[in-house]
């Protein structure tokens, strides 16, 4: 628990010194707000970088035939797009939100381990620079999909794969350190009276996510290390000719990979659970069942990994088990959606920009959940597996799910962070533009997938042409909308209508009740009262 006395003894009365000046402020900072900002900017840059690769993919797929890029380069684009979006955009954005919000939500002065916090951020720019640099090397960037199945990624991969392996190691180290920090902060630094079951759901979901990270990032590290020794030191973990098993790679990868997708969605649940009650002016329905549902999803996430592998040739008993366990996840996930809808029920709703993004999240994440349930039914997955139906599914949960919640969080908390209101009109344009575009982009992919178009192909037969053209147009529009978002972000940081301390009429929580907007550089040097 937080104690103010030790802190005061160390630093005397001079708490409110501001940040250092110049560039070194950002390099040497140990301040959770600065580091949160750094994470969020990195995530935004990676979003635009990963997005520009998506534009190349959609450009090539705009019409049948090979017009713009070679198949080998196309494979590099799909691979790097996936890696950059997962590890560079979505994950750092949520860590950035955690850095900014967890201390001010629980009444802590900073993160528990500020120097490690600095380190865990500053590893990332180097990791991604190294990963991106492979694009310009002989042999090219990784071209084996973000899932890097062996032996395509071992025996059959170019030398640049070693840079990829090292970059993944660095990202893993960064994530584990970030997770340790979040757990240490939440468990040790809550203000007196902030019991676990009083914590905002964003803090709860991040606490659970951090445990998932610590559990599975080392598994990923193990997978890439086995790849490395297979490639250079004569081992045969994934080579049947030496007694290994390429399918084992997939088991190891998805034992990491499935919890990973929940790492990318649980904090989103926390964000939505903060926004819906504020704009419905009504407390969150079923707080404790939300906490239990989050924990259930996290536990189940360790037990369903092989549903990504229904076609690899598993014993039928294994397939049955993984089917049952997978469709079971829809129960706690359903509970969450029902709770949000019930929170809105008989509320007094208004529809400012953060609320729009949150409502968009609920509808479209649920659509992604429906296709997820369909994919979980093992015999039918025979037809869905590795088609555009899967691409549509995971983009509905990751783009209109995870990314939408991050954008919602930006609009919801940016007045608190900067003290400036964003431009409401531009925010609404951003929402409607994105939402129409993203559905034009991803909804037709359900159809081409069901009609038989495999994923990760640079060219396709003519029957898929119309829907791919539509999808590409949606893609370009969605990409442009996020450049527009960049403009909104910069405009908001530079100025805007002054935000009140509470910001939103219905906002609750320590960050809105106890801190001005923007909060001082060092906040809660004394523990706030908790009701």
């Amino acid at each position: 628990m937080y104690t103010e006395t030790t802190h005061d003894a160390a630093h005397g009365e001079h708490h409110d010194h501001g940040p250092a000046k110049g560039l070194m402020r950002w390099v040497t900072t140990t301040n959770h707000k600065d580091i949160g900002t750094l994470y969020l900017w990195l995530a935004f840059i990676m979003l635009l970088y990963g997005g520009s690769m998506a534009m190349i993919i959609r450009l090539e797929l705009f019409q049948p035939g090979l017009q713009w890029v070679e198949p080998h380069f196309f494979n590099q684009m799909t691979t790097m797009h996936g890696l950059v979006m997962v590890f560079g955009a979505i994950m750092p954005a949520f860590v950035g939100l955690a850095n900014w919000l967890v201390p001010i939500m629980i009444g802590a002065p900073d993160m528990a381990l500020p120097r490690m916090n600095n380190w865990s951020f500053w590893i990332l720019p180097f990791a991604f620079t190294m990963l991106a640099s492979t694009t310009f090397m002989e042999g090219g960037a990784p071209a084996f999909g973000w899932t890097f199945y062996a032996p395509l990624s071992t025996t059959f991969a170019p030398d640049t794969t070693d840079f990829f392996i090292f970059a993944v190691h660095l990202m893993g180290i960064s994530s584990v350190m970030g997770a340790i920090n979040i757990i240490a902060t939440i468990l040790n630094m809550r203000a007196p009276g902030m019991t676990l079951m009083k914590m905002p759901l964003f803090v709860w979901t991040w606490l659970i996510t951090a445990y998932l990270l610590i559990a599975v990032m080392p598994v990923l590290a193990g997978a890439v290390t086995m790849m490395l020794t297979d490639r250079h030191f004569g081992t045969s973990f994934f080579d049947a000719a030496g007694g290994g098993d390429p399918v084992m790679f997939q088991h190891v990868f998805w034992f990491f990979g499935h919890p990973e997708v929940y790492i990318m969605i649980l904090p989103a649940f926390g964000v939505i659970s903060a926004i819906i009650p504020t704009f419905a002016r009504k407390p969150l329905f079923g707080y404790s069942s939300m906490v239990y549902a989050t924990a259930s999803i996290a536990i189940l996430s360790f037990m369903v990994w092989a549903h990504h592998m229904f076609t690899v040739g598993m014993p039928v008993a294994g397939e049955l088990y993984f089917m049952y366990a997978t469709i079971l996840i829809s129960v706690p996930t359903g509970v969450k959606v029902f709770n949000w809808v019930t929170t809105m029920w008989k509320g007094s709703m208004t529809f400012e920009t953060p609320m729009l993004w949150a409502l968009g999240f609920i509808v479209m994440f649920t659509i992604g959940g429906f296709s997820g349930l369909m994919l979980g039914v093992a015999p039918v997955d025979t037809q869905y597996h590795d088609t555009y139906f899967v691409v549509a599914h995971f983009h509905y949960v990751l783009v209109t799910g995870a990314l939408y919640s991050i954008i919602a969080a930006f609009y919801y908390w940016v007045p608190k962070w900067t003290g400036h209101m964003y431009d409401e009109k531009l925010g609404k344009i951003h929402f409607w533009w994105s939402t129409i575009a993203v559905n034009v982009l991803f909804f037709p992919q359900h159809f081409v997938g069901l009609a038989g178009m495999p994923r990760r192909i640079p060219d396709y037969s003519l029957q898929f042409a119309e829907f791919n053209a539509i999808s590409s147009i949606g893609g370009f529009a969605f990409g442009l909308a996020q450049v527009f978002f960049l403009y909104i972000v910069i405009k908001t940081i530079r100025g805007g209508e002054k935000a009140t301390a509470q910001v939103w009429e219905g906002a609750t929580g320590l960050e809105f009740e106890q801190l001005p907007s923007p909060p001082p550089y060092h906040s809660f040097t004394e523990a706030p009262p908790v009701r």
Partner: protein, 377 residues
């Protein structure tokens, strides 16, 4: 304003979804929905797909309907005053148990279909071995001594810059696999390099071919016809260019086809006994090279720097013929270079080695005869 747009959006999403799928359910349009296919399993899978889809639609209508109602009526601009209820154990139990019952309703038919799907071992009439090779398929009729390689048709390769009007673009092969109808066919899958997946939607067969392991699946095709599919697992550069064509015919036609394939094989074996001229070897070698080698080593022999070595000026190619033959025939362990002894016959191998030594900017001057390949095997 915003609200109107929002509710309209829900309507569009929900009605669009329902109408698109119900239309396609009635007409079974391949373009919008999953194929019903031509095997008993494919039809079971289709029904299961539609069952789960309609369950999702109903849940969607209820959830989005409640949401839309709430957005319509419980808004501050209409003077709605917020209630303060925020928990109910009863309702939490209800919306945990009801979905659970729905899931059981899905799991029961799904279990039956899955057990059928996995029953490849019993009562198979024909066994077809399918080998995934970067980037083509090899088919071996296990009981018939018939074996051949099937790769993307030249008609598709020629029009990649503008395939407009090319029917079955990327879904055509040089040699389709022929199977009889109304027979239980057991497929055995394996791979000679990376993981591929053999997928023909109408047969509802999608199974990974994994190096070092054998997977199986089965189909009983009930209607004659041509069924097309593609590789479904990313397998490297030309993953998008290794289609599958199944020609399902009557049993009599199938038997006839087997006889003709055996005659072809005998003729090929005879031609391997004779001496070939440089001109004939080069002509044949070019065809073989473009079909089997150019994907990695490039149509002009330039390779892809850092990934695949060039042919032009390669020390191995310019060196001793025996060393060159050894790499082509036996492959190179630990690299992407495959052993071609299982893929090409003696004449093709002799021709392609001769071609590589005397074309693509190389001019060693010697010739490799089929007999030399035979000795190297």
């Amino acid at each position: 304003m915003i609200f109107n747009k929002l509710s309209r959006r829900f309507l569009v999403v929900v009605t669009g979804l329902v109408s698109m799928f119900s239309m396609s359910a009635a007409r079974a349009e391949y373009e919008l929905n999953m194929t019903q296919g031509v095997t008993p399993i494919s039809q079971d899978i289709y029904s299961l797909h539609m069952l789960v889809f309609w369950i999702c639609v109903v849940i969607g209508v209820v959830v989005f309907g409640a949401m839309a109602w709430s957005i319509l009526h419980h808004r501050k601009s209409k003077g709605a005053v917020a209630a303060n209820f925020h928990e109910s154990t009863t309702i939490e139990i209800v919306w945990t148990v009801v979905p659970l019952l729905i899931l059981i309703g899905i799991a029961i038919p799904a279990t039956g279909t899955l057990l059928d799907l996995e029953d490849a071992k019993t009562n198979a009439d024909i066994t077809l071995q399918v080998t995934g090779i970067q980037w083509k398929w090899k088919y071996t009729y296990v009981d018939e001594d018939v074996s051949f390689i099937s790769s993307l048709a030249q008609s598709s390769r020629d029009v990649m810059s503008d395939p407009t009007g090319n029917e079955n673009y990327l879904l055509e092969v040089d040699e389709p696999v022929v199977l009889p109808i109304n027979k239980k066919i057991r497929f055995l899958f394996h791979s000679s390099d990376v993981i591929h997946a053999w997928w023909v939607p109408e047969l509802a067969v999608k199974q990974d071919s994994v190096p070092g392991f054998i997977n199986d699946s089965w189909a009983t095709i009930e209607e004659p016809g041509i069924y097309r599919g593609q590789c479904a697992e990313l397998c490297g550069k030309d993953h998008g260019f290794m289609p599958i064509v199944v020609n399902a015919v009557s049993e009599a036609e199938y038997e006839q086809w087997l006889v003709s394939k055996k005659e072809e094989a005998a003729a090929a074996a005879a031609s391997a006994e004779q001496e070939w001229s440089m001109k004939d070897l080069l002509a044949r070698g070019e065809t073989v090279y473009q079909a089997n080698c150019s994907a990695c080593h490039g149509p002009t022999g330039a390779g892809i720097p850092g990934a695949f070595p060039a042919m032009t000026g390669s020390p191995l190619v310019l060196g001793d013929a025996a060393g060159h033959i050894d790499v082509v025939v036996n492959g190179k362990a630990g690299t992407a270079m495959a052993a071609f002894k299982g893929q090409l016959n003696d004449v093709d191998l002799a021709a392609v080695v001769t071609y590589e030594r005397n074309a693509l900017g190389n001019s060693v001057g010697d010739m490799v005869q089929p007999s030399a390949i035979k000795n190297a095997r």
